[in-house]
């Protein structure tokens, strides 16, 4: 069970969080202008590395902030964790 160091609350069990997938996916600034390809890239085609991954976690049972977490998807080792909106 992951122990995620929430920058606000401190380290908490994974069960307090909801996962949000890859972090930092840019939403096309003008969706109407985006091609189908660019738009569906944003929707469906995400990074899936075996290794370091930047991802979103929602601290549902704590500060209710979305966190950006660096985590190795193989070892589950954590890197930097920051609030998505400081």
């Amino acid at each position: 069970m992951l122990l995620i160091p929430c920058p606000f609350c401190g380290a908490r069990d994974e069960t307090e969080f909801a996962y949000g997938g890859e972090a930092g996916i840019e939403r096309p600034a003008d969706p109407e202008a985006a091609t189908d390809e660019a738009w569906t890239d944003y929707l469906c085609f995400h990074d899936n590395p075996k290794g370091p991954h930047r991802e979103l976690w929602f601290h549902r049972d704590g500060c209710r902030r979305w966190l950006e977490v660096e985590r190795d998807t193989y070892t589950h080792e954590l890197g930097a964790v920051r609030l998505s909106r400081p």
Binding site: L2, D13, Y19, D36, C44, N48
Partner: protein, 418 residues
């Protein structure tokens, strides 16, 4: 191929079992093959077998980075069924189920396919409407499906908790009688042996590390045992799909997730059907060896670790104990997890990729074991004809571009939501 039968066993008994031949050879890789299949799980091995048997293409190698059957094929809860909602999935999985029904004899290897019935129980009106509708839809697709009352459930699964006083009481169920389980390892081994007998080279401890492409066409593979030339390449690597596709510069709408399964210590049989519980998402069966085999939902985040969280395990075991209270008297023997290829709509991809000669099967989510025969069958067809069969045409990559996704659960483009 040395034929297996009760007589060959008797002969073996008299010769002290000294004369059994290897089930498959351990060849050195040739410098090139007409077709190379990457991934020695059930899907890869089945693909090779059907290429040789159905299409006469036997200059084929299956490259497996570890040992065959060691991926999800060797670690799943072995449920086989075709009780799907969407017509595209119904057709495909029903084709698969039909192949299962003749598989042991086809391969001359007992894969212990056991059609003991797959039951889904529901708890609310909404769930009832959904499950009955799904089974009515199966009937219209020519698939067996039944509605079960609580009395039926009590008869078929006496160990099931039908008390009205539990948190989510069971109000009824549906069943696909032809569904069941099979012996997972035997599926890999049986396909391997049959493919090998038709001339396929099964090469273990051979990791693919690169895909050679010239002029937009695949020409061969880089492997831990050196480069190997290939006319066509089929990827059947489950949770590793995105890595392999990336080697060819292709991105996939697939994420890799953790799914746990667990077994109890073995006891005498007391659960004869496969039961899935809608309220808590757990599924329970008892193997022929006697273990109660329990699965649940994903841990819910990208992972290649094959090690699940104890929190999910508590949850799965609590569900199993709630609905099979007697299970609480058993002890948990072992738990493990797999590397799941979760697609963005919960349905698979069996398709040509945007590189000439490169095709894949993947995105199997929770359900690829049951798909093994049909996935291999379709991928072999696609490789042989350079075009998808009608059965797998809907499972294209383009559907994610056009929006024509096959979202069984209506969960949207959230890989872990399916």
């Amino acid at each position: 191929m040395q034929r297996y039968s009760i007589f060959s066993l008797l002969r073996g008994a008299f010769s002290g079992h000294r004369d059994w031949e290897p089930a498959w050879r351990a060849p050195e890789p040739k410098s090139s093959y007409d077709v190379i299949i990457v991934g020695g799980g059930g899907h890869g091995l089945a693909t090779a077998y059907y290429l040789a048997r159905n299409h006469g293409i036997a200059n084929v190698a299956v490259l497996e980075r570890g040992w065959i059957g060691g991926g999800n094929t060797g670690r799943n809860t072995t449920i086989v069924r075709s009780n799907y909602l969407l017509p595209e999935n119904q057709r495909f999985y029903e084709h698969s189920l039909k192949l299962w029904e003749g598989l042991s004899r086809d391969l001359n290897y007992n894969v212990m396919f056991s059609p003991r019935g797959v039951i889904n129980v529901f708890h609310t009106d909404a769930q009832r409407d959904y499950w009955v509708r799904r089974h009515n839809g199966m009937r219209y697709a020519g698939i067996d499906a039944e509605l079960l009352t609580r009395a039926d459930l009590a008869r078929l699964v006496p160990a099931l908790n039908l008390s009205p006083d539990i948190r989510h009481p069971v109000v009824g169920g549906v069943m696909q009688p032809r569904g069941g389980v099979a012996r997972h390892d035997a599926v890999a081994w049986g396909y391997a042996r049959a493919a090998d007998a038709l001339g396929v080279d099964i090469i273990q401890d051979c990791e693919v590390t690169g895909i050679d492409i010239q002029g937009g066409r695949v020409t061969g593979l880089q492997t831990s045992r050196g480069p190997i030339g290939a006319g066509r390449v089929g990827l059947a690597v489950a949770g590793h799909s995105s890595r392999l596709a990336e080697m060819a510069g292709v991105r996939l709408p697939i994420e890799t997730h953790l799914l746990t399964a667990t077994v109890s210590e073995p006891v005498k049989p007391f659960i004869d059907a496969v039961v899935s519980i809608a309220a808590t998402h757990a599924y329970v069966s008892q193997t022929d060896k006697g273990e109660v085999l329990i699965g649940g939902s994903l841990d819910g985040y990208n992972s290649w670790s094959q090690r699940g969280s104890p929190a999910r395990l508590e949850d799965i075991l609590a569900s199993a104990s709630e609905y099979f209270p007697r299970v609480s008297r058993l002890r948990q023997l072992r738990h493990w997890a797999g590397v799941m290829d979760m697609s963005m709509d919960g349905s698979p991809i069996i398709a040509k990729l945007p590189v000439e000669g490169l095709v894949m099967t993947g995105g199997w989510c929770y359900g690829g074991f049951k798909a093994t025969p049909a996935s291999g069958w379709c991928l072999a067809w696609t490789l042989a004809n350079d075009a998808p069969h009608a059965l797998n045409a809907p499972f294209s990559l383009e559907r994610f571009r056009t929006g024509a996704v096959l979202d069984e659960n209506g969960a949207g483009p959230v890989a872990w939501g399916h």
